[in-house]
Amino acid sequence: MRKFAIIGFGCAGYNGAKSLREHAPNVVIDVFDPSRRSPFNPMLSTYHAAGKLPYDAVFPFGSLEEICRALDLNYFSENVLEVTADRTIRTESDLYRNYDGILLATGADAMVPGSLRCSGNRWFTMRTLDDALALRQHLDTNQVRSAAVVGGSMVGIKVAELLHSEGVNVTIVDAASHLFPLAAYESTARFIQRQLENKGLGFRFDAKVTAIDEDGIAFADGSALQADLVCLCIGTRAGTRSFRNSSVQIGHAVVVNSHMETSVPGIYAAGDCCEGINLQTGKTAVIGLWANAAMQGACAGANMAGDHADCPGNILHNITRFFDMDFISLGDITLPGCKHLFDCPEFFVSLVMDGNTLQSVNVVGNYRVSGILKHHLVKQLTGGASTTFTPAQRGLLERNGLPREFIQLIGGSPNDRA
């Protein structure tokens, strides 16, 4: 009987196991994950810490017992220390096992540079369920008047929202020159910043943090910011430590092809520990999103079973709601082109076009156009079908506030009437 190992059990690991079981009902599937917890979505950490989501609800696929029973999985709650090119794994209890196929799905950890580590109990990260529980406990048992959130991206803004809602005086600090440096045009970021300043948040940009201590944070220019609490939200680092000796190609994460296979035959990777294909650049990149991890895991599971599934790639995209505001970013904002703006009192759409090709989009205040624009952008890149909007899409964009001229600019056909 064929045997498979899945290392790491988050969204990608779960979907890999599910797909593998669907495609190969009679194989042995061993899952290695030290958490003893059901797959957890890191995005939910701030919601749980804010009390908006109860403990059981942060496990969207059900309990670990239910999952293992339904998918007939053998669960080993231990770390895998090493994966070798002949598909042998070594665990921390010195268990050696050889497999017909391995799925690397270890996810990513919150990035904490060594220089910023400190021994105090007033600094936090926000990635895992334990991070959420620790912050919640601290807020419940201490009087926190001021906080510094280091990192002005998706996680940082949600942590800032949570702290602000509890009456904490929050300052967002970032080494970049503006909020959402990877997702927002500067003009969009400044608009959002103004809205948040009106709500009482403070900002400090171009500010390199050199140390975190009991008093707050210290900056490279010698200045300091006093804070009762510091939360470090400066991104993630792929969990690739145990694969370093396996011969799999590793860049920022494990490099995979469109079948989710690594450079070593029979070893696959999916989710935040891997670099799939960025459709806009054609290069591999980490696109750490829940749905992306699900699709990658499902593709890897099918291929491990012997099917020929394809995961052609994705684009950078994000939607986030904070302080009653929606911000949507689609595509790589660094790509060149001509910038266009549609601005009305309720929302604005800002985008970059290179000739007739949509490169990137920022939307504030209108989530309803996001799905159509995202699919249009992906459709442009995957080719095949027409790259103009269908009558249904045109009508829906128009009904959701975009003027005809703007719709035609993005995806009109020569016959469209502006």
Partner: protein, 170 residues
């Protein structure tokens, strides 16, 4: 039995009766800020002297591999095994809008009052009890219909044959 919503554009006049019936069925009050699940509209293209009109009625397509379902971080969206509709239980919805970004038809909508996303559920409870979805039942021209998967396949085959015939006759 899995079902498919079919819109016959040649019969639709975008009268919005379907949209009103949907609002009635689902207690949707646009004046109170609710967003209707179904929308009917006319798309007018081409030169003014020779315009091309497309009449449409759009709601959730209940996609087979529903991208909204994959995107939902809390598992609120599911496929109803009996009807194949994409249904939801938004108890744990965090209002993150991930489903909206995943939908190519701009269907999931945010309810400001509840702070949660909602969408068309295909009138799943009506259909399970042998009734038509509200939008289908009210359509005065028979443009909207709910058919089984096998009926849908047959419709597609017939449609394809018609198109080939027209092409030959042209």
């Amino acid at each position: 039995m899995k079902y498919v919503f079919v819109l016959d554009e040649s019969k639709c006049v975008a009268c919005s009766a379907c949209a009103v019936a949907c609002m009635d069925q689902n207690d949707i009050d646009p004046l109170a800020g609710d967003i209707p699940f179904r929308a009917a509209f006319v798309d007018e293209q081409g030169p003014v002297e020779d315009p091309k009109f497309t009449f449409l009625s759009i709601a959730c397509m209940h996609c087979e591999n529903a991208p909204c379902m994959i995107a939902c971080p809390t598992g609120c969206l599911k496929k109803d095994p009996e009807t194949g509709f994409t249904v939801f239980d938004n108890t744990n919805c965090i209002g993150c809008h991930s489903c909206a970004m995943a939908c190519p038809f701009a269907q999931p909508c945010f309810n400001d009052n509840s702070g949660k996303m909602t969408k068309c559920d295909g009138c799943v409870e009506r259909v399970k009890r042998g009734m038509q979805p509200a939008c289908v039942k009210v359509c005065p021209f028979g443009a909207l219909s709910l058919v089984s998967e096998s009926e849908y396949q047959e419709l597609m085959r017939t449609d394809a044959r018609k198109k080939i015939s027209y092409k030959i006759l042209d």
